[in-house]
């Protein structure tokens, strides 16, 4: 072999190895606060995905809205050992699930005048600040989670010229249960989705929604189902064991009490089920703009003493609540994914989910119902509380199934997508 050929060969090999060993992809991610400071599945998803990406040797520069009391220092601790994830904060009053009305209420309580007077102003201000972050950092790709950070992603793309991936956890149609879609939010979503280089949807359900309601071409959307990592969940003892020893069964609704989550169907199914078995305690855990209405509805139905409102729970209280239940019910009208169902299974409780949910695509061992079919829901609730064997079989099988629904799987799909987009 001639020396030059040998060198050429060697050179190529070296480059390839270099690429494999030393080339590190860096992601600029616009995300939301991690548990336990989060207020819903979005923060949990950001955390699970970021950690799994770090484990795949991806550098993540994680930008998040700063809030009083908690912040990047807490999150840095979570990733202290791994050095792959760095956090940057932007001061803002934005937080997940905020609505235009709730933003204004919140804004009224703040004296500082740096924040926008309306939600839209604040979203735009956040985007401008994101632009500055992007200017000063090096990265290969931008990844933004849900509409509040979409404009930030767009600005980062403009200033850096790097490709932008938008990760859709929920659309305005999901949040509003298709009633009273906010045109301004819809416009931001649609414009951003059109400008993005790639879109990740958390389910096929969401993908179809983007095609149908936003006119996005199917081939521009990749589905990456959420995951769950068992190690994040401690086993907490059941706190209602006294009640349950007395023969009470517990059926749980856990989520924001908003139109999207279908709380009224839960109350109606409760009323129907209680006609047949008065020994069931229905617990509504969460808060939201329909809470008062739901309390009234339970009262009007004469079932107030069997329907308890537990408020918003986190941490140990949350896992203890999951564990206390005999069945977790998610009657969502429109649920892009539904991470709470997976949390419930980890805590030891099987699930009844609405067919109109993304998680239904990956979870076979669940009872499924149409959210409006409260008779069917009641029938299934009554079966679970009266047949221990049903609960045990459902739970045992779903527990096995969870092993296939991990963030590791989800992060692999994200990395593959990054590579496809960068190619």
């Amino acid at each position: 072999m001639r020396l030059s050929t040998l060198l050429e060969y060697f050179h190529v090999e070296t480059c390839y190895n270099e690429f494999k060993l030393f080339y590190i992809m860096r992601v600029l991610m616009f995300g939301w606060e991690f548990p336990p400071h989060n207020s819903g599945g979005l923060g949990t998803a950001c955390f699970g995905l970021t950690r799994a990406l770090a484990a795949r040797k991806i550098d993540v520069l994680f930008v998040l809205p700063k809030r009083v009391g908690v912040g990047a220092s807490f999150m840095n601790i979570l990733f202290a050992d791994d050095g792959k994830v760095r956090f940057t904060e932007i001061e803002t009053t934005l937080r997940p699930y905020v609505t235009s009305e709730s933003y204004v209420r919140l804004r009224d309580n703040i004296v500082s005048d740096i924040y926008g007077n309306t939600l839209m102003q604040e979203v735009r201000r956040y985007a401008m600040r994101a632009r500055e972050v992007a200017k000063n950092e090096h990265f290969d790709i931008i990844h933004a989670h849900d509409w509040l950070s979409f404009l930030a992603g767009i600005e980062a793309k403009k200033v850096s010229g790097k490709p932008l991936i938008l990760h859709v956890h929920a659309t305005e149609f999901d949040r509003t249960g298709e009633q009273g879609v906010n045109q301004e939010i819809y416009d931001i979503e649609r414009m951003s989705l059109e400008q993005a280089d790639g879109i990740i949807a958390v389910s096929n359900l969401t993908k179809e929604r983007l095609v149908k309601n936003y006119g996005i071409p199917r081939e521009k959307i990749r589905v990456v189902h959420n995951g769950i990592d068992e190690c994040d969940y401690l086993v907490t003892p059941d706190r209602l064991s006294e009640l349950k020893r007395a023969g009470q069964k517990v059926v749980l609704f856990l989520g924001r009490i908003t139109i999207q989550k279908g709380p009224e169907y839960f109350i109606r199914a409760a009323k129907r089920a209680l006609e047949y078995d008065p020994n069931i305690l229905f617990i509504v855990a969460g808060s939201g703009d329909m809470e008062r209405q739901m309390i009234l509805e339970a009262a009007n139905s004469g079932i107030s003493c069997q329907v308890l409102f537990a408020g918003f729970l986190r941490g140990e209280e949350l896992t203890a609540m999951y564990r206390s239940a005999d069945l977790f019910v998610m009657p969502s009208v429109s649920e892009p994914f539904g991470l709470t169902t997976l949390e419930s299974i980890i805590a030891g409780t099987p699930v009844l989910i609405s067919k109109q949910s993304g998680v239904s695509e990956v979870l076979v061992h669940a009872l499924k119902t149409d959210f409006w079919d409260t008779d069917d829901m009641a029938n299934k609730i009554l079966s679970v509380v009266s047949h221990r064997s049903l609960k045990d079989t459902l739970w045992g099988n779903s527990r096995e199934e969870l092993k296939k629904i991990s963030w590791d799987v989800a992060s692999k799909k994200c990395v593959d997508y990054y590579e496809d987009i960068l190619r």
Binding site: L367, A378, R388, N397
Partner: protein
């Protein structure tokens, strides 16, 4: 000399409709679904009769006329015959015509295609007696060879069946039982004196029943000459090739366009091309051949799934619960002496109900899903347990009336 012994299983359960908790105490018709779903028993029966029973019977009748030595055997569940009487008398007639040729043997089984032997030997004996009476009434013949539900079998069953007067019994030729031995001989069940055991040659049987239309199979397409050649290869190494399968293989599991009917139509000609080959019924095989050795089957085996065990019906907690619940009701149900209550209690014993609750491979959308008319095993369980709850209520509330029908007495054949 190699004898080919065909046995076709013919069974349809009374599937439970989508029976909700609100129906308890209101509606005691558990099996009368009228929807388009595949739990509509009448609809299913008509569909399968059209695709399988009638055309397959026509082919068999044609073969019996053409070949004076051609023979086959059937085992009909009682609940299947009930559905023929109710929904499709013309199909019943076509089966009667086959049996009337004298070259179609009918086997004995439990009337309700049940797992009763596992839970109540008394109820098992009653159901076998009921089945025998039904066969005598509809076909004018008395079964002398027994096959238990889904070929569930062990030594204890063989002993019981011998006591009941049968000459032979049928089981799966499972590898874990046979080891180095061949299914192509007769065996003597451990613990019996005269009973003879016929074992299914599952490789050749499944070539027809499962692999016939499988394009991934290296032997695809399966032709009658090829199959006859495989059968002839047994010559010298066995007495009888037992081809046992669901009758629905013809036209229902393997659709007509796969060529399954043509295969069946040409098979006897091809088998007869080797003058050493012939056809026998199970009772003829028993007369003609002697067992080569004892066969010890301590644990239950069956012809289901790769495990060939009971796990298709009894593995998860729901299945255990459902089975224990139905057999716990035995005393109460029989004590009513009410024929409708007892009939419903027995129809709810059919093994298919428990099969539908199986979650073993629910993940992979396999054969269990194919055979499951419910959306999920959980829905099958929910409907079943609700119906059971209603039955319990009926038993509890039952007030005895005059002029009740009598149970069929247990009478052993000799």
């Amino acid at each position: 000399m190699t004898s080919v012994c065909f046995y076709f299983q013919v069974h349809q359960p009374f599937r439970v409709k989508d029976y909700r908790v609100f129906d308890i105490g209101q509606d005691s018709e558990y099996f009368n679904d009228k929807s388009d779903r595949s739990i509509n028993n009448e609809k299913i029966l008509h569909k399968v009769a059209g695709k399988c029973y009638l055309p397959a019977n026509a082919v068999l009748l044609e073969l019996l006329k053409k070949h004076p030595e051609f023979k086959v055997s059937f085992s009909f569940s009682g609940v299947f015959l009930d559905q023929l009487e109710e929904f499709s008398p013309e199909t019943l007639e076509s089966f009667q015509k086959l049996v009337a040729t004298g070259r179609v043997e009918v086997l004995g089984e439990t009337y309700y295609h049940s797992l009763s032997f596992l839970y109540s030997p008394e109820e098992f004996r009653r159901q076998v007696a009921l089945h025998r009476a039904k066969i005598e009434k509809l076909f004018g013949v008395t079964p002398t060879v027994f096959r238990n539900t889904e070929l569930i079998y062990n030594n204890a069953l063989a002993e019981e069946v011998e006591k009941m007067g049968y000459k032979g019994i049928i089981a799966e030729g499972a590898d874990h039982i046979l080891e180095w031995r061949s299914p192509n001989f007769l065996y003597r069940p451990q613990g019996t004196q005269n009973l003879k055991l016929l074992l299914k040659n599952y490789r050749l049987s499944d070539d027809i029943a499962f692999r016939f239309s499988s394009k991934e199979w290296s032997e695809h397409p399966l032709t009658a000459p090829k199959f006859a050649d495989w059968v002839s290869q047994v010559n010298g190494g066995g007495d009888v090739v037992n081809l046992f399968m669901d009758y629905e293989t013809f036209g229902e599991h393997q659709w007509e366009d796969t060529g399954i009917f043509n295969f069946l139509r040409h098979l006897p000609d091809e088998i007869y091309k080797n003058p050493d080959n012939n056809f026998v019924t199970p009772s003829e095989a028993i007369l003609r051949y002697n067992p080569v050795s004892l066969l010890d089957v301590h644990h239950f085996m069956s012809w289901a799934d790769v495990e060939r065990d009971l796990s298709a019906w009894i593995s998860n907690p729901m299945q255990h619960d459902a089975l224990e619940s139905i057999y716990r009701m035995e005393e109460g149900a029989l004590a009513t002496n009410n024929s409708r209550i007892i009939e419903d209690w027995r129809r709810l014993q059919t093994s298919d109900h428990f099969y539908y609750m199986c979650t073993k491979w629910f993940n992979d959308g396999d054969v269990h899903k194919y055979f499951n008319p419910y959306n999920t095993p959980y829905e099958a369980f929910i409907a079943y347990m609700n119906a059971l709850q209603d039955l319990k209520l009926r038993i509890h509330n039952f007030q005895p009336q005059k002029s009740e029908t009598k149970e069929v007495p247990i009478k052993h054949i000799s």
